[in-house]
């Protein structure tokens, strides 16, 4: 009972602290006594989504490890550009961190922003998920082989697929899969949507035929018996879905792709501060509270230490450039 009153008051204080911390306090932070005031965790995506939930869980655990409140702030819009810019342009003092998602390797190729992964100090990759090929249970496809045959035999534009906006990661998943089957990038029409939830709704309502989003995002509808996962776009099976074959096993394609989420700060974060946070994150990655939470949402934990995290982001940048050129999403 007293717990609740305290946490209510603390929530208000946190909001006030976020306001004050963001604008008023001068840059008096010294690495030695870091952290001496509340931190801000910027999430480039909306409240309630997967990235948001992951960030809130990490922030709650980070708060315990660092002994300072960590305020989650959603800076949404502009297909992730707004939030990613906010992280990159924050003062490099360790008091503003953020979740950097796979879109950082994609947005600048499309000319939406100048930002690349080089504008951040990587602190640790926390999660990576592969998409699944999902259809409505009314569609009557027994396995990925049957769907592949039907798609190959169809007139271009007969099948419609959705899952995210034009040029988003799940769109690239579809295009990569089609390419690997030797089909044109637009053989299956991509119907842009605002995210995985509206796409799943449209799949069940019969508006589209295929959804290529992560397993977690299809879970409710699959459990309800309204949708069926046919194959995972990965080199190995998911630990949460041991019975689901990969594309290589059943689909005559070796295409693999993943979306990922990592914690990062602005470029040139002081090394001592960076290592303080990185150490905390490496502990969180194996914390049972975190692993149980991620498993319950169907998210795959894939931890990489800062250096490997940075290397992975650079590699992904090149991979995405190839995929997007192949998809015809990059002009010139």
């Amino acid at each position: 009972m007293t717990d609740f009153t305290n946490s209510t008051r603390r929530g208000l204080l946190r909001g006030a602290a976020a306001l004050a911390g963001a604008s008023l306090l001068p840059q008096l932070a010294w690495a030695a006594d870091y952290p001496s005031r509340p931190l801000t965790m910027i999430v480039p995506w909306g409240a309630g989504g997967g990235t948001d939930a992951t960030a809130r869980m990490i922030s709650a655990l980070l708060e315990r490890k660092l002994g300072q409140p960590v305020n989650v702030v959603n800076r949404t819009g502009g297909a992730g550009v707004v939030g990613h810019s906010a992280i990159a342009t924050a003062p490099a003092d360790g008091y503003t961190l953020g979740v950097v998602t796979v879109e950082i390797a994609m947005m600048h190729h499309m000319g939406l922003t100048e930002l690349t992964s080089a504008d951040y100090t990587p602190l640790g990759l926390m999660n990576a998920d592969s998409p699944a090929v999902t259809v409505s249970s009314d569609a009557g496809f027994a396995d990925i082989g049957a769907l592949t045959e039907a798609v190959k035999a169809s007139e271009p534009g007969t099948f419609k697929a959705s899952g995210t906006g034009q040029g988003g990661i799940w769109h690239l998943a579809l295009v990569g899969w089609l390419k690997s089957l030797g089909l044109a990038a637009d053989h299956v029409t991509w119907v842009p949507s605002e995210g995985s939830a509206p796409a799943m709704q449209d799949l069940i309502a019969g508006g589209i035929d295929i959804v290529t989003v992560s397993l977690a995002e299809t879970k409710a509808m699959v459990d309800a018996g309204r949708a069926v996962n046919l194959a995972l776009m990965s080199t190995e099976r998911a630990s949460s879905h041991p019975d689901l074959p990969t594309l290589t096993e059943g689909g005559g394609s070796n295409f693999a792709l993943a979306t990922w989420r990592g914690i990062a700060g602005p470029r040139d974060l002081p090394p001592e501060i960076g290592s303080t946070i990185a150490t905390a994150l490496s502990e969180i990655a194996v914390d049972p509270e975190f692993t149980e939470f991620m498993a319950s949402r169907g998210f795959n934990i894939s931890y990489l230490e800062p250096e490997a995290h940075g290397q992975m982001m650079q590699d992904a940048d090149a991979q995405m450039a190839d995929a997007m050129t192949a998809a015809g999403l990059i002009q010139g």
Binding site: G77, A79, T189, V191, Q201, R226, R297
Partner: protein, 510 residues
């Protein structure tokens, strides 16, 4: 069955649950009454605290806070003509004018009791028909949503004050602003002028605060500088619920209609309390015997829309619980919390954890009833606002505006949007343009465009596809009928003035 109900009752009867609901309700009441702070924000602020709670107290906190916030948005609407949440914007004109006529208590008392009835209705629908209604809502694709958005926008014509032309202009301003940002289908930036902040488009919460609240503050300042007394709000008119019983007895049909519409719209994924309030206000006006009284301090539209927005709160949980698809932005957050608590939404939750679901239903009923005493206290406290001299009140309101505009996007840009639209809103209102249609255009413009483009991509450019599916065809015909009637009415009005002078001429001869 009784076993499960008993288990659920035990879960809810826990004093910790009750106290959590009470505290969260007070918090929701406070957030909702602050202009610009929404029910969604009340819920989002509670999420970090729910991490440390058991499932039932966590859900109780969210249910309680979101319901109270939707009602509390009516309070500043009536007192200051500043809707606390977008769900109150549809009828802010009526409730404020009622207050100016000395019927503040009647307006807020009606809001409160009808909100409670609407809320209970929403829960009843949630309990009785959750799976069935979710099934219906699931049949909506982009075609149906397109017509729904078209229906909503057409409502602007009905909501419009005396002058449909000026309302139309305001609506187009709103729609034009909705095109700012990344194109929803191709992802190409539009009208952003290289500004990263504009890529996210014009957020409608800062816009709403600017149009309603800041414009009101500016009017107040001008009055102060001219030395003229602001139109004083008459003193209280007795007890809060005096006369409310009569209103409810006279308008049972409005309450039923508003509640039903609210629950249905709430159940549609992506359409929540805001749209429910606008739609039911318009429907109410369309079928009223006295449509000309709407917007002048008429209680009828208030009854419909207050019932609808609270009923939608329950309705929105239907697709969330049954299929894990959020009915509005509050339930989007709720789904995250449900997963975190191991109650993965979907039909299986009704089989695996029925006692938890029934406990949620009971909390709904409990918090809806709790709304009456809590609301009474909130209204009593808010009345004190009227005693504050404008010299003090105006700066305080302005600072709330700034905090609210900042909080939505956590950026200074929200304040810029609020200030710019405040000036725009003030200029428009001074020239007789209503500002409410701008908000509607901003809220529905994005959905309208996105659904049209999505449908066209699906159908390969065939417009006939908008009438191919039965629900889409029904909605489409309804929209076309409304437009037809509106055009017919306009033609009649155009012909009428031509006839009148002739009659007058005849009179003068006699």
């Amino acid at each position: 069955m009784t076993d499960i109900l008993l288990q659920a009752l035990m879960l809810v009867a826990d004093p910790r649950v009750l106290i959590t609901a009470l505290l969260a309700g007070t918090f929701g009441m406070f957030v909702g009454a602050m202009p610009g702070l929404t029910a969604t924000m009340a819920t989002a602020l509670l999420v970090p605290m729910t991490f440390f709670m058991d499932p039932i107290p966590a859900l109780a906190a969210i249910v309680s806070a979101s319901g109270m916030a939707i009602f509390a948005g009516d309070i500043p609407g009536a007192l200051l003509r500043i809707p606390g949440t977008p769900a109150s914007a549809a009828y802010v004109e009526d409730s404020h004018r009622l207050a100016m006529k000395g019927k503040l208590n009647l307006a807020l008392g009606t809001n409160l009791l009808v909100s409670c009835i609407g809320g209970l209705f929403g829960v009843a629908v949630l309990i009785a028909a959750a799976p069935m209604l979710a099934e219906f809502a699931l049949r909506f694709t982009s075609y149906e949503y397109f017509w729904l958005a078209a229906l909503g926008l057409s409502c602007a014509i009905f909501i419009a004050s005396a002058d449909p032309l000026k309302a139309g202009v305001a609506l187009l301003i709103g729609l034009a602003m909705a095109t700012v940002g990344l194109d929803p289908t191709t992802g190409v930036p539009r009208f952003t002028m290289g500004q990263v902040d504009l890529m996210a488009g014009v957020e409608f919460i800062p816009a709403m605060i600017g149009l309603f609240a800041l414009a009101e503050v500016m009017r107040g300042v001008i009055r102060l500088n001219h030395g003229s007394r602001p139109p004083a709000m008459p003193r209280g008119d007795g007890a809060l619920f005096k006369g409310v019983g009569g209103v409810i007895r006279r308008h049972p049909g409005n309450i039923a209609r508003g509640s039903l519409l609210g629950a249905l719209i709430g159940a549609l994924p992506g359409a929540g309390a805001d749209i429910a309030a606008w739609m039911s206000y318009a429907v109410s006006k369309r079928f009223s015997k006295t449509p000309e009284a709407y917007g002048t301090g008429h209680v009828e539209g208030l009854v419909d829309a207050s019932a609808a927005n609270n009923s939608a709160v329950g309705g929105a949980w239907i697709p969330a619980l049954v299929f894990g698809i959020p009915g509005d932005s509050v339930t989007a957050i709720v789904i995250g919390v449900l997963y975190m608590k191991g109650m993965n939404p979907g039909p299986t939750v009704f089989i695996q954890n029925p006692q938890l679901i029934y406990a949620v239903f009971m909390i709904f009923i409990l918090t809806t009833l709790m709304m009456v005493p809590l609301g009474w206290v909130a209204v009593k406290a808010a009345r004190q606002v009227l005693r504050v001299p404008p010299r003090v009140l105006l700066p305080v309101v302005l600072s709330f505006c700034i905090v609210g505009a900042f909080a939505m996007t956590n950026s200074v840009f929200g304040i810029v949007v609020m200030l710019a639209l405040g000036v725009l809103g003030w200029l428009l209102e001074e020239n007789g343009f209503p500002v409410a249609p701008i908000i509607l255009g901003l809220v529905l413009g994005g959905m309208f465009e996105r659904m049209f483009m999505t449908s066209m991509i699906k159908s390969g450019g065939d417009l006939g596809a908008f009438f191919d599916r039965p629900i889409a065809a029904t909605l489409g015909v309804a929209v076309l009928l409304i437009w037809g009637l509106a055009i017919l009415g306009a033609v009649r009005r155009m012909l009428a003035p031509a006839g009148r002078p002739l009659q007058k001429a005849g009179h003068s001869k006699n």
